[in-house]
C-alpha cells in the first residue's frame, strides 16, 4: 500500500492552485459584473433575474442596452476591476488553460503514484465516519485522522468532492457558456438546463470554492498552522519556522502577482490583450474553431423580448431612411472581390434563397436570448462577388458612430467588425434582414445585421452598410480586428 504522504509534486500543485483559483475568482467576478444579473431561463428577460449585484436602475422611457447595465467593481474583488471585461476575460481564460493543465497533471500523478487513495475512500464506512467527524467538530473537538492517512473522514470526502466533482463541474459549466460549443452541441447546454442555468450553476461553483477556501483555512488554523504549513512546504513536520516563512513568502508572491496583473491590465491593456490573447487564441482556434452551428430551436423557445446591446445610429440620415422603410439604404460589397456589388434591401430580398434559423444568441456580457433570424446566407453573397485569392478577412462597416450613439461604451469612432473569411461559409452565417418573421427592428440592427452563431454576439455587426473583403485588418481602426477589439480589448475570434 502506498504511503499517503506529501510528495513534492503535490506540494507544488497546491501552491500553484492557490494562485490559479484566486485569479479565476477575481477575474470571474469581473466577468459577472459586466452583466450582474443571474437568470434561470435563456431569455434573460429583464426583471426575471433571481439575483442582482448592482444598484443601477434602467429607464423605462428610453431604450437602454446591456452596456448601460454594466457595473464597475473595485479591484479588490475583481480583476482588474473598473468595468474592464476584455481584461477580465483574458485573465480568466489564460488562467483556466493553466489550471486545466495543472489539473490533468494532478490527476495523472495521483493515479500513477497511487496517491489517489488520499481522496478516494477505501470503503463505504467513510460515510458514517464522516458523520461522526461532523458531530465531533460540533462538540468543539478534533476528530481522529483516518488510520495511516493524513486526513480525517470528512476532510477526505470534502477534498474528493472539490477535486473530482467541483473542479470538473466548473469547467463543464464554463464550457456550456461557449457559443461554439452550444452551437455544435445544443444538447450539452440543455444538459445544464440552458445557457443561463449553466451560468447560475457556475456562480454556485464560485461560491462553493470560496466556501471551501474559508473552511480549509479554518481547518488549517484549528489543526495547527505551523505543522500543516511544514507538510505543504517540506512534506514533513520539521523546520517549522522556515516553513512558516516560506509559506508567507509564497503567499506574498501570489499577492504580488495579483497586484501586478491588476496594474498591468489597467495601465497597458493592449499588451495584456496581445500577450494573453496570443495564447488563448491558439487554444480557441485549435479546439473550438472546428465547431459549426447546427441550432434549430423550436418556435416556442423564442424570447418574447430579445435583449438589446448597442443603440441605433442617432443621425437624421438614418432616421429618414428608417421612416421610408430603408428604401434609400444601400449595401456596398467590395474590396478584394472580382465583382463589387451594391444592393438595395429589395434586391437583397430578391436574391431568394432566404434562410431562417432559430438560435441562441450569446452576448459576451453573459446574457442570452433565443431569436429567429432570416436573410441571405453569406455563402450565397460570396458566390456572387467572388473574393480574390488574397482575401482572408471580411470587414463589416456600420452606420453606428459609437461616440455619438453609445455613451456606455469606452471609445469613439465608426463601429466595425472583422471576420475570418473561413467562417463566412458556415451554414448558419447569415446576413439577416428579418427577425421573428418581421423586418429586422431598428434596435436589433435594421436594415441588416450579421449572424455568425459560433461567435459571441458583438461580432455580429448591426446597422451594416458596407462589406469589404481584405487581406489584412491591421491597418483598419487600431488594427485589432474590430471596434470592440480596438477599444475594450476583446479578442477577434470569440468562440468562447
Amino acid at each position: 500500500m502506498v504511503t499517503l504522504d506529501y510528495p513534492a509534486w503535490l506540494r507544488i500543485e497546491h501552491w500553484v492552485n492557490v494562485l490559479f483559483v484566486t485569479l479565476l475568482i477575481r477575474s470571474g467576478i469581473e466577468i459577472l459584473g459586466t452583466h450582474p444579473k443571474l437568470y434561470w431561463r435563456d431569455d434573460s428577460k429583464p426583471g426575471t433575474e433571481w439575483a442582482r449585484f448592482t444598484r443601477k436602475t434602467m429607464p423605462t422611457d428610453k431604450l437602454y442596452d446591456t452596456l448601460d447595465e454594466e457595473e464597475s467593481y473595485s479591484s479588490f474583488v475583481s480583476l482588474p476591476g473598473h468595468k474592464k471585461l476584455g481584461m477580465g476575460r483574458h485573465w480568466h481564460f489564460f488562467t483556466v488553460i493553466g489550471w486545466m493543465l495543472t489539473g490533468i497533471a494532478y490527476y495523472v500523478l495521483l493515479f500513477v503514484t497511487g496517491q489517489w487513495h488520499r481522496y478516494i475512500p477505501y470503503s463505504w464506512s467513510i460515510f458514517p465516519e464522516a458523520w461522526n467527524d461532523i458531530l465531533t467538530y460540533l462538540s468543539f473537538k478534533l476528530p481522529p485522522l483516518l488510520p495511516g492517512e493524513p486526513l480525517d473522514a470528512i476532510q477526505k470526502l470534502a477534498y474528493a468532492a472539490v477535486i473530482f466533482l467541483l473542479a470538473p463541474f466548473q469547467i463543464l459549466t464554463g464550457a456550456a457558456q461557449s457559443p461554439a460549443i452550444e452551437a455544435q452541441f445544443p444538447w450539452f447546454v440543455q444538459l445544464w438546463g440552458g445557457r443561463q442555468s449553466a451560468r447560475s450553476l457556475h456562480f454556485f461553483g464560485l461560491l462553493a470554492f470560496i466556501g471551501f477556501i474559508a473552511v480549509h483555512l479554518a481547518m488549517v488554523v484549528l489543526w495547527g498552522w505551523p505543522q500543516l504549513n511544514a507538510l505543504m512546504i517540506f512534506g514533513q513536520v520539521r523546520h517549522l519556522g522556515w516553513a512558516l516563512a516560506a509559506s508567507l513568502a509564497i503567499i506574498a508572491a501570489i499577492v504580488v502577482v495579483h497586484i501586478a496583473a491588476t496594474v498591468w491590465s489597467l495601465k497597458s491593456p493592449r499588451t495584456v490583450q496581445r500577450v494573453l490573447g496570443f495564447v488563448i487564441s491558439r487554444a480557441r482556434l485549435m479546439f473550438l474553431r472546428p465547431m459549426v452551428s447546427r441550432q434549430h430551436y423550436p418556435r416556442s423557445a423564442l424570447s418574447a423580448e430579445h435583449r438589446v446591446n448597442g443603440k441605433p445610429p442617432d443621425s437624421d440620415e438614418y432616421k429618414v431612411m428608417a421612416v421610408h422603410h430603408f428604401v434609400d439604404w444601400k449595401l456596398e460589397v467590395g474590396g478584394l472581390v472580382e465583382h463589387p456589388m451594391t444592393f438595395t434591401l429589395s434586391e437583397l430580398r430578391a436574391l431568394g434563397d432566404k434562410q431562417t434559423q432559430r438560435v441562441l444568441h450569446n452576448c459576451i456580457q453573459g446574457w442570452s436570448s433565443v431569436g429567429e433570424w432570416s436573410g441571405v446566407p453569406f455563402r450565397h453573397l460570396i458566390k456572387l462577388v467572388k473574393p480574390l485569392p488574397q482575401a482572408r478577412y471580411i470587414c463589416f462597416l456600420t452606420m453606428q458612430d459609437t461616440g455619438r450613439d453609445e455613451p456606455s461604451a469606452e471609445g469613439t469612432g465608426q463601429f466595425y467588425e472583422v471576420l475570418d473569411l473561413s467562417l463566412a461559409g458556415h451554414p448558419q452565417c447569415l446576413l439577416a434582414y428579418e427577425m421573428n418573421g418581421a423586418p429586422l427592428p431598428i434596435k436589433h440592427g435594421a436594415p441588416l445585421r450579421l449572424r455568425i452563431e459560433t461567435q459571441v454576439g458583438f461580432k455580429m455587426a448591426k446597422w451594416i452598410n458596407r462589406i469589404e473583403f481584405v487581406s489584412d485588418y491591421h491597418a483598419i481602426g487600431q488594427g485589432m480586428g474590430g471596434w470592440r477589439e480596438d477599444n475594450v480589448y476583446f479578442d477577434k475570434d470569440v468562440e468562447i
Binding site: 450582474p36 429583464p46 426583471g47 426575471t48 433575474e49 433571481w50 439575483a51 442582482r52 449585484f53 448592482t54 444598484r55 436602475t57 434602467m58 429607464p59 423605462t60 437602454y64 457595473e71 473595485s74 474583488v77 461532523i134 458531530l135 465531533t136 460540533l138 462538540s139 468543539f140 473537538k141
Partner: protein, 161 residues
C-alpha cells in the same frame, strides 16, 4: 474621524453588502420555515426524552413546549400570503424564538439554570451546537430580509427593467 472609520473597512463591507440582492421569496421563506421546524424538532426531541439530563425540571419542559409552539406558529404565519402583516409577525416571532433559544442555551452553559448545574460548561454537545447554528441562521436570514438583500413570500421584487 470618517477616515478612521473607512480604515476599519466597515463602510466598504456595508457598500459590498448593498450590492447584493436576491429575488427568491419562496426559497427564502422555505429555508426560514425549515430552520424553525428544525429548532422545534430539537426541542421536541429533548421534551420527549432525548434531553441529556433526566429527569429535568418542570419549568424547562414548559419552556421547550412553548418554544415548539411558538416556532410552529411563526412558521405557519410565514406562509399566509394574503395577510402580509401576519407574515411579518411570523418572521419577528421566529427571530424572538431564535434569540430566546440562544439566550437560554448560553445561560445554561455559563451562569447556569436552576436545577441544572450539570449543564454548566457543557459546550461539547453536538445537538446543542447545531441548535445554535440553526437559531443564528434564522436571525441572519430575517436580517437579510429586513435589510433588503432578500425578499420573503408573498413579496416580490419590482425589477421591471
Amino acid at each position: 474621524m470618517s477616515t478612521v472609520v473607512r480604515w476599519t473597512g466597515v463602510p466598504q463591507l456595508i457598500s459590498f453588502y448593498r450590492y447584493i440582492a436576491f429575488n427568491v421569496p419562496r426559497v427564502t421563506t422555505a429555508v426560514g420555515i425549515a430552520v424553525l421546524l428544525g429548532i422545534a424538532a430539537i426541542r421536541l426531541y429533548w421534551l420527549v426524552g432525548g434531553f441529556p439530563v433526566s429527569p429535568y425540571p418542570a419549568y424547562l419542559g414548559g419552556y421547550f413546549g412553548l418554544l415548539v409552539a411558538m416556532a410552529i406558529l411563526a412558521a405557519a404565519s410565514m406562509v399566509v400570503g394574503s395577510a402580509p402583516g401576519l407574515v411579518r409577525f411570523g418572521w419577528v416571532l421566529g427571530s424572538v424564538v431564535s434569540v430566546a433559544s440562544i439566550a437560554m442555551y448560553v445561560t445554561s452553559r455559563t451562569v447556569g439554570l436552576p436545577g441544572l448545574p450539570q449543564l454548566v460548561r457543557w459546550w461539547d454537545y453536538p445537538i446543542g451546537s447545531f441548535a445554535m447554528v440553526l437559531a443564528g441562521l434564522f436571525v441572519a436570514l430575517h436580517g437579510s430580509v429586513i435589510t433588503g438583500m432578500n425578499v420573503a413570500y408573498p413579496q416580490r421584487r419590482d425589477w421591471h427593467d
